[in-house]
């Protein structure tokens, strides 16, 4: 890559990292998710900061067109992040389902308790629980 491309890449990555850090500081992003993005940023920083590293590595790996390595690395990391999100989403959905089911059961129990309470107190003008 040319020097100009390196500088452009470095600026972009720096902006992205600052953006992620700001999000974490404002608590819009959990630290555990930011780590994935920051590690992606770190890889990019190294590539941008060390001219010749990408070309050298690509040559070692037998990649003829060196920028392919950059795209390959980026894709691999993105894939990892996306799979991680699917995993988190599944877990989160399971928990939501669990909560919904427990809520239905508890709601019935509260209604029943309220009714037996009302019955025990006798007809003293108590409202039956509306749902």
């Amino acid at each position: 890559m040319s020097l100009r491309a390196h500088i452009a890449l470095a600026i972009l990555v720096a902006l992205a990292i600052v953006g992620i850090v700001v999000l974490v500081r404002r608590r819009h992003l959990k630290a555990k998710y930011s780590l994935l993005w920051l590690s992606l940023g770190a890889v990019m920083v190294v590539i941008a900061a060390v001219p010749g590293l990408l070309d050298w590595t690509a040559e070692r790996l037998g990649i003829w067109y060196q920028p392919t390595l950059l795209i390959l690395l980026g894709l691999a990391l993105l894939l990892l992040i996306v799979v991680h999100f699917s995993y988190e989403l599944t877990r989160s959905e399971n928990r939501t389902r669990e909560l919904a089911e427990q809520l239905a059961l508890l709601r019935l129990r509260v209604t029943e308790l309220q009714q037996s309470l009302d019955a025990a107190e006798g007809d003293t003008g108590t409202d039956s629980p509306s749902s």
Binding site: R97, A100, E101, L105
Partner: protein, 245 residues
């Protein structure tokens, strides 16, 4: 639970219901007429209509899910309720009028004989229930894969007319398939966990109302999904029950 009478000899009829305004009252009336000795719980799966109110107006217990979980989630809620209240047996019954209340005794009978789960099958001889060609074909594929995974032959894997004993309920209360074709997956899950699953012939009516949850354009997607989850069903979590008698 704490303040409950002993329910271990009682049967709980679990009715998952999603927007069943049209058919629920007649289904509940039929149950009250035919099997008044059984308890009924309606699980309202986040209906947009007055399904839950109708259930309560008809004097049955109603569990209200805050949003739609799909049939699997509604059933699991029902199973949890059955376990929580200590019911010895439960029936899964459709709200849409497809199932015949007079046949509840038919699917309960094998439980006395040591079965853990009994499936009412439309295709095991009695009655003349017809499904469309594409559905019949899809059901055939499912039947074939289930036979291989469960190690047992079933003629009607998608039937939602089932009975369960306390052991089966205990497992399904924590571990019931939430994917689309829950009925087929539950069957495989039970078989692979070593439960005694049987099938009895029943007759069913054509749907009285409501909308069929099976749309042909979604069939391929759902079949792929169920095949993926079927292929990943865990094996042997329970040692087979020692044969009684």
């Amino acid at each position: 639970m704490q303040d409950r009478a002993d329910n271990s000899n009682k049967v709980l009829i679990i009715i998952p219901a999603f927007n069943e305004h049209e058919t629920l009252p007649s289904t509940l009336a039929e149950l009250k007429r035919t099997v008044p000795q059984h308890d009924v719980v309606v699980v309202d799966d986040g209906s947009a209509d007055d399904t839950a109110d109708l259930a309560e107006a008809n004097g049955v217990i109603c569990l209200r899910l805050p949003f739609n979980l799909g049939i699997g989630g509604a059933l699991r809620t029902g199973f949890r309720f059955a376990v929580e209240r200590g019911y010895g047996r439960a029936i899964q019954f459709d709200a849409d009028g497809q199932h015949d209340a007079s046949q509840i005794s038919t699917i309960l009978a094998p439980l006395d004989d040591g079965a853990d789960m009994v499936i009412g099958s439309r295709f095991a001889g009695v009655g003349d229930y017809h499904v469309g060609r594409s559905r019949g074909f899809a059901m055939g594929i499912l039947r074939w894969s289930i036979q291989h995974l469960a190690g047992q032959k079933f003629t009607d894997t998608s039937s939602g007319f089932r009975s369960f004993d306390a052991d089966m309920l205990a497992m399904f209360a924590t571990d019931y398939p939430i994917e689309y074709m829950d009925s087929a997956e539950a069957l495989v899950l039970a078989c692979r966990a070593g439960f005694d699953v049987r099938e009895v012939p029943v007759t069913m009516r054509e749907r009285a109302g409501g909308q069929a949850s099976n749309r042909s354009f979604r069939l391929v997607y759902h079949y792929l999904r169920v095949l993926v989850s079927l292929a990943n069903t865990p094996r042997r979590t329970r040692t087979p029950k020692v044969a009684t008698s």
